[in-house]
């Protein structure tokens, strides 16, 4: 595939060039609606990285690390899990069920229990599409899309039905005080008091490390990568496709579900409607940009954290609607993902010519 391309060009140069194109086109979009793109970048960066904004930026980053890792691990098994949105939403139900069922004495216990709830529910929501892909050959992209919609209907049903707190608002009761996890401000007073970033950021970083170990340092990870490279060769080597598909998708669903520890336990402290807010889809952009490598995913998640927080500032300071972020996200997915060969092919040719010249 990467004939004659050195590794650094493959994992750094091409994504950077694609990203630059995506941002250039985003700049053109900003100019089209009559605003100054340079000014917009300044507003975004200062808004996202200032004392007030950074606490929000890291909050979004936490979400995107989880969903990005979720998409990335499925990519390694050559599967496209587009269901992060649903898995994260149902993960939120898991968090809520666990935290409402028991009056947790201390947050250290509560966060472990909530994480288990989030992972089990998230993985369960990925399990049916995974099983259908593994056993019946039903296309995982379509089934996970369908499960996103089924999931959102289920959550609405739960929040206006069985899990609804007394009253008309579609939300559960608030969680007890014992399950409230420390914010970054509690740990480092330098952060703004109201910023929602919390200790689950470290869970996300730990998860990234865990995924790195799993994919590159274990036998199972080797099998997942082998399966992703060539299904036929993997089967010939005795790797069982059903097992790989199930494991990769369950881990993927569990990671997406973990996002709910940040949003539901850490921020809302009760289950409300639409806790995911598209983070499941941002995970696709993050995984593509990060080349499905945990380090890349963390960096890309931070970049998207800046975009999300800075995008909010854009509407305040410059009157550019928040939807600008969605456009940037779309362009990143487009240029880094589907239009990647537009950059890759010329770069490859350039390298081939350069080599010939040197030889």
């Amino acid at each position: 595939m990467n004939k004659g391309l050195p590794k650094w060009a493959d994992i750094v140069l091409i994504p950077l060039l694609s990203l630059t194109l995506a941002f250039l086109v985003s700049g053109l979009v900003v100019m089209f609606i009559g605003k100054d793109p340079i000014e917009a970048v300044k507003v975004m960066v200062s808004g996202a990285l200032g004392k007030f904004g950074i606490g929000y930026t890291l909050y979004y980053t936490t979400n995107f690390i989880f969903t990005g890792l979720a998409v990335a691990i499925a990519f390694h098994a050559r599967m496209f899990n587009i269901g992060g949105e649903g898995q994260a939403g149902i993960g939120g139900v898991g968090v809520a069920v666990v935290l409402l069922a028991v009056d947790w004495p201390h947050w250290t216990v509560a966060i472990v229990a909530a994480s288990i709830g989030a992972m089990v529910f998230g993985a369960a929501w990925a399990a049916i599409p995974a099983y259908l892909q593994a056993k019946r050959g039903s296309h995982i992209v379509i089934t996970t899309i369908m499960f996103n919609w089924i999931g959102s209907a289920l959550i609405v049903y739960l929040l206006v039905g069985p899990l609804q707190a007394p009253g008309m608002v579609p939300e559960t009761l608030g969680f007890s005080a014992g399950s409230s996890i420390p914010t970054l401000n509690d740990i480092f007073p330098a952060f703004d008091k109201h910023a929602p970033a919390n200790i689950s950021l470290f869970l996300a970083l730990f998860a990234a490390f865990g995924v790195w170990v799993l994919i590159w340092k274990t036998r199972l990870g080797y099998e997942i990568r082998a399966f992703g490279h060539s299904e036929k060769a993997a089967i010939y080597a005795g790797i069982k496709p059903v097992k790989i598909i199930m494991v990769a998708m369950l881990v993927s669903g569990a990671l997406a579900g973990m996002m709910a520890v940040n949003t539901v336990q850490g921020e809302a402290e009760r289950l409300i409607l639409d806790t995911v807010q598209g983070a499941g889809f941002v995970g696709i952009a993050v995984a593509l940009m990060g080349r499905s490598h945990p380090v890349g995913v963390v960096l890309a998640a931070f970049l998207f954290g800046i975009l999300y927080q800075g995008g909010g500032e854009l509407s305040f300071a410059m009157g550019i609607p928040r939807e600008m972020i969605v456009v940037i996200q779309a362009l990143v997915i487009m240029f880094v993902g589907s239009l990647e060969n537009m950059v890759r092919i010329p770069v490859e040719r350039l390298f081939v010519r350069f080599r010939k010249g040197a030889a």
Binding site: F80, V327, L339, E340
Partner: protein, 335 residues
């Protein structure tokens, strides 16, 4: 439930299934040629915005900077919707046919691009939270009274069916339903259709026969663009929304995708599936929950039913849905 209520629900089902049907047929052309299209939603949404914006602009008085037209604005809107939807379809074609990129990722990108840019540009042009101005008169498509609808109204059973169900829709509804036999004819009775299906099943064989796989697939993707544009125009010009509203496609593109799989990529079944899913939506709109005596079916279940049914069909427990063999695979000509 009396007869009139049934007619009303079916009538509403016809209206609700129209955009599904158009988008479903769009997906059918594309996927039959081997190009997966999960960007139906985005093309529809962009089309809806273009139609709403163009129709509003065409009908706006010249003093206010519009074209000051008094008739045909809705058709201008349709033209704009098709044009914009085709541009997105061409991006999808360029990514998946020319560059041999990932078709699914391309579709995802197009959906987001439409969701974001329609609000962005809508806010810039009309400054009302991404909405287009309300449309009236010839800026929209009004109901068409079929001949003798008034006279035949009093004929028992058939009268209300003709007057209440078949007559009184706007032109795009009839276009959508006419597109079904037309699609069947094109796919199964013309050389173009044979080739289109062939590139989706075995592009190598088509290439060997000296026919361009690339051209054939671009043609299919373009037709999908036209049909998604019509679906979008219907949303903003043919429904009670009377203009473009942010995110107005609201997942219809994905229900259309579900209908396509449910219909196993067959035009006639696409009609059935779209009507079924439209009917489910119509029932869900009319009744908040349905009491079956033994238990109550919540409205959310009705909303989720199209997706659940599609998963069941995909699982192959009730007949197997087998997609075109070369679907999603970029075609690499041997060198």
């Amino acid at each position: 439930m009396d007869f009139n209520t049934i007619i009303q629900i079916l009538d509403s089902a016809v209206r609700l299934s129209t955009p599904l049907l158009l988008a479903c047929l769009a997906g059918l052309y594309s996927e039959r040629s081997g190009i997966f299209d999960i960007g139906l939603e985005g093309k529809m949404l962009a089309g809806a915005f273009a139609a709403g914006a163009m129709s509003a602009y065409a009908g706006m008085p010249v003093i206010e900077g519009g074209l000051g037209m008094t008739w045909g604005m809705a058709w201008m809107g349709v033209g704009a919707a098709i044009a914009v939807s085709i541009v997105l379809a061409l991006i999808h074609g360029f990514a998946s046919i020319t560059l041999r990129g990932n078709q699914l990722i391309s579709g995802v990108a197009i959906n987001f691009f439409a969701a974001g840019s329609t609000v962005l540009i809508g806010q810039y042009w009309f400054r009302s939270g991404g909405q287009t101005p309300p449309l009236s008169g010839a800026q929209r498509f009004g109901p068409i009274e079929l001949p003798f609808a008034g006279v035949l109204k009093d004929v028992p059973i058939l009268g209300p069916i003709y007057e209440g169900l078949i007559s009184g829709h706007n032109i795009l509804v009839y276009v959508a339903f006419a597109a079904v036999p037309l699609t069947w004819w094109i796919l199964f009775r013309t050389r173009f259709g044979l080739r289109l299906r062939a590139v989706g099943e075995n592009p190598g064989a088509v290439d060997t026969a000296g026919i361009s796989v690339v051209k054939q697939r671009y043609a299919a993707v373009l037709i999908a663009g036209v049909l998604c544009g019509l679906a979008g125009a219907y949303l903003s010009l043919g429904t009670s929304a009377a203009g473009f509203v942010k995110d107005m496609s609201a997942g219809k593109g994905f229900i259309a995708l579900a209908a396509l799989i449910f219909a196993k990529w067959q035009p006639k079944a696409a009609l059935g599936a779209s009507l079924l899913f439209g009917l489910l939506e119509a029932i869900g709109n009319r009744y908040q929950s349905i009491d079956l005596g033994v238990f109550v079916v919540p409205v959310q279940f009705m909303q989720a039913l199209p997706y659940i049914l599609t998963v069941v069909i995909l699982a192959g427990f009730i007949g197997k849905a087998i997609p075109p063999a070369a679907g999603g695979e970029p075609y690499v000509k041997e060198r």
